[in-house]
Symmetry: D2
Subunit: 269 residues, 4 copies
Amino acid sequence: MGWAMFKFEDHKTYQMPAHFGGWVYDPGLELYYHDTVHLNFTYATDGNRLADYLPEGFELIRPELMIGYMQGRKIDWMGGSSYNLIQICVPARFQGHRDRLEGVFVLVVWENKTTPILWGREIIGIPKIYAAIEDLHIFENKYFTNASYEGANFLSLEMTEAQPVEGQELAQMKTSAADPNIFGWRYIPRIGGPGAELSQPILFPQRTEIKSAWRGRGAVQWTQLKPEQNPTQWHIVKALAELPMIEMAPVTMFKAVVILKPAQARVLE
Amino acid sequence: MGWAMFKFEDHKTYQMPAHFGGWVYDPGLELYYHDTVHLNFTYATDGNRLADYLPEGFELIRPELMIGYMQGRKIDWMGGSSYNLIQICVPARFQGHRDRLEGVFVLVVWENKTTPILWGREIIGIPKIYAAIEDLHIFENKYFTNASYEGANFLSLEMTEAQPVEGQELAQMKTSAADPNIFGWRYIPRIGGPGAELSQPILFPQRTEIKSAWRGRGAVQWTQLKPEQNPTQWHIVKALAELPMIEMAPVTMFKAVVILKPAQARVLE
Amino acid sequence: MGWAMFKFEDHKTYQMPAHFGGWVYDPGLELYYHDTVHLNFTYATDGNRLADYLPEGFELIRPELMIGYMQGRKIDWMGGSSYNLIQICVPARFQGHRDRLEGVFVLVVWENKTTPILWGREIIGIPKIYAAIEDLHIFENKYFTNASYEGANFLSLEMTEAQPVEGQELAQMKTSAADPNIFGWRYIPRIGGPGAELSQPILFPQRTEIKSAWRGRGAVQWTQLKPEQNPTQWHIVKALAELPMIEMAPVTMFKAVVILKPAQARVLE
Amino acid sequence: MGWAMFKFEDHKTYQMPAHFGGWVYDPGLELYYHDTVHLNFTYATDGNRLADYLPEGFELIRPELMIGYMQGRKIDWMGGSSYNLIQICVPARFQGHRDRLEGVFVLVVWENKTTPILWGREIIGIPKIYAAIEDLHIFENKYFTNASYEGANFLSLEMTEAQPVEGQELAQMKTSAADPNIFGWRYIPRIGGPGAELSQPILFPQRTEIKSAWRGRGAVQWTQLKPEQNPTQWHIVKALAELPMIEMAPVTMFKAVVILKPAQARVLE
């Protein structure tokens, strides 16, 4: 039969399903999240155990686990829809042949919508997986949320005694949060055998414009899951839950505009 | 600092996040779905337009759109959990340098859980995306379901006048459904520029053991979405909804055990 | 057997299940919704048909259908959690033996959480029923949401061209929205026969403190459902969808604090 | 204005919103649940504490807590849709002026759909409240589910070592489960003051036709919630979780057709 067929075009970028068409690659692409609230928890932990989860090429800067909750709204590329995420990071340095950068290495991100999970994994190598994540509950100056999988709660986050951050301190916070280096690792398995088709460290640039901020006390509670409750994630929860919580730093909360720049992501060398 | 680090092992296979560990590659891996219900709708359409969505290397066998609903339960690799999917296919022939096979090319699959979406996309190139998909509603010999995205219904499926299929006809149905050739196209975009890092046709083997079957009348209703209702999928719905529904074949329903064999998937050449 | 038993206490109020304990009745009880966003759509319709849904004792003031969307957050009595609702009202006058009041009669309210549905129905006679209701999507100065039931969308709401309301006009809006008279009808069926155990008109006081407001163009779209898609609600959607949309007034949006005063509700006479 | 108005008709029964119309009262009404799976857990507990939750008029027969999970499908009055519930009961005797009956008193029922919650509460006095309840997970002869509220898991149920029940034992199980006396307590609060507008014990007849059954080992795990995690239910979970689990009986599972007969419900005297 002589029917026409779909052909890939060189100047376009695609996502599966690719054959319904792609879009012209735009190096200046910026994805605005106009209304975001962030809670950031950090605690000192055992650096030896933490480093077990850092791939070669990266080096731990401090033995700290960082847990960041984001409630994202007015997201342009999702037509003004919203999602929540919980991102687990460590402060890390990339030591490559060419690149030498400090930033945060993303161990895992839970998100409550599938669409951003797919883009994050396949384009920029951020290891996003699914969990139900509550919108922020705000009650009597207490801010709390939780993450669960098919009804089994594995992480609860809470901030109390929130006090506004202002003046010089706010200015410093704005500067230091503005242009983080986010490191991911894109891994696509080989078909028909072990090993990778694609395995590469990635730098993912974004911009965070803090509008207002608070500081307070934080509480983090992990609850381990049985393998059958979450066969593809329980080992991740176990690994994180078993890291000792040596000392909890003050938690910070801020409202911000976030601008993702996926077209400026690049493979680290 | 002298901390140990995560190293990939050659005999293992991984999924993002890879650094929490992989598992030994098992070429004989079989994933059992012990309790599945399937509804299969097929209608004749315009072959010229349909072929627009078929990548080079594939050829349309008949100008038909196939819509398969599956309600999957007792899924071993998900710890006995469940999910629903709607798979849109066309009968296609792969014409490669080496491979020459007939089967069905998967245009798109909507699923209502993220976990199988990730595996399907990254390992076997099946273009799975998210939608809310209702469990099968069964009322007065009518079977119906729908798919929606953030509250906007875009596909409704209905079977009426279901009659059991038995004897010789059932035997034939069992045989013809047993070992379908499922074709996907794995596409992972390049970072920092247009085009692909990975772009390859895939054969994904699975086995379907039909236990019982019915035949009846089918009705399919597409509802187009505004771009802002579903920015990453509306063009897919539009493409499918605009294909003419020339003639609807009888719909078949069956209960089955499905066994996926992802380790036997391979790149077509 | 001599076991103690649960006894109701006269000074307390209860909700099913009552036997786990009630709470001391507080006539000054105020329920704060600290963060709410409202979109209000109003259109002229056929007064004769509209009046078919107004129980005896009430009189239509104007032939108008009012559709109010509320996105409620920081709700104290729910521990800082949130829910969304769509309330359908008509401007009405109550003409009783004793009471003579103007306000709005609530035809139906859809809400996306069960807990407030139960309180609203049983305590204050507001006819709340369930639907999935999207958070407000905000994209390029367009605000939209929808309501659906088990994947079938039956109402879409959209505001465009939003312009801030300020000064004298805002002050007037604040005053006129501050203390609405909300009318409901509490109906509890008899057991073991037709008719009511309880059937009474209710006045439900609340306070709305508008913080900021916008005016724009509105669009309302009803989609009727088949009976089997929503057996207990399809007739409500049908009744409302069949009312002619004669002229749409400008839509208003505002951010507010809402204070419910359920203990001040009373039966109208 | 001379517009017509909605009038209640004597031979009809209504539910809020009543003014969209009721339906002719049918004393023979039967609601079929064509496809249900039940897991029943029973454990001996402290009778003195348990009796604290039993209203006057009822007497505890045995100091036992009964936890019944039902996964209901093919439900006619919901257009063939489905829901899950977890019902907490005690074996009880009603001692009234006229009625003297043995059955089970329902302490609380969690359900994952709002529509049946409303009917159950308002018509037959069954104290249904909302929770997310997982479909049954079935994996390696283990059957498990859980209930959670806004991501916080408060009850997990598990059956292992399931063995079929057959022959004489199955026949006995069928007989004893066929026509249970279900007791509820319908309570509607007064408006504008403490106390009840309606407070009455109810008998709710239903029929259970067991098709097949299994027996096995059961495990029940309660997890208490903080008040702010679930302000309207935490005290119920606390009351139940604090009851000692003295001895767990074998758990039974069965598949059945359930027929509810709400029109035959009656107030106990």
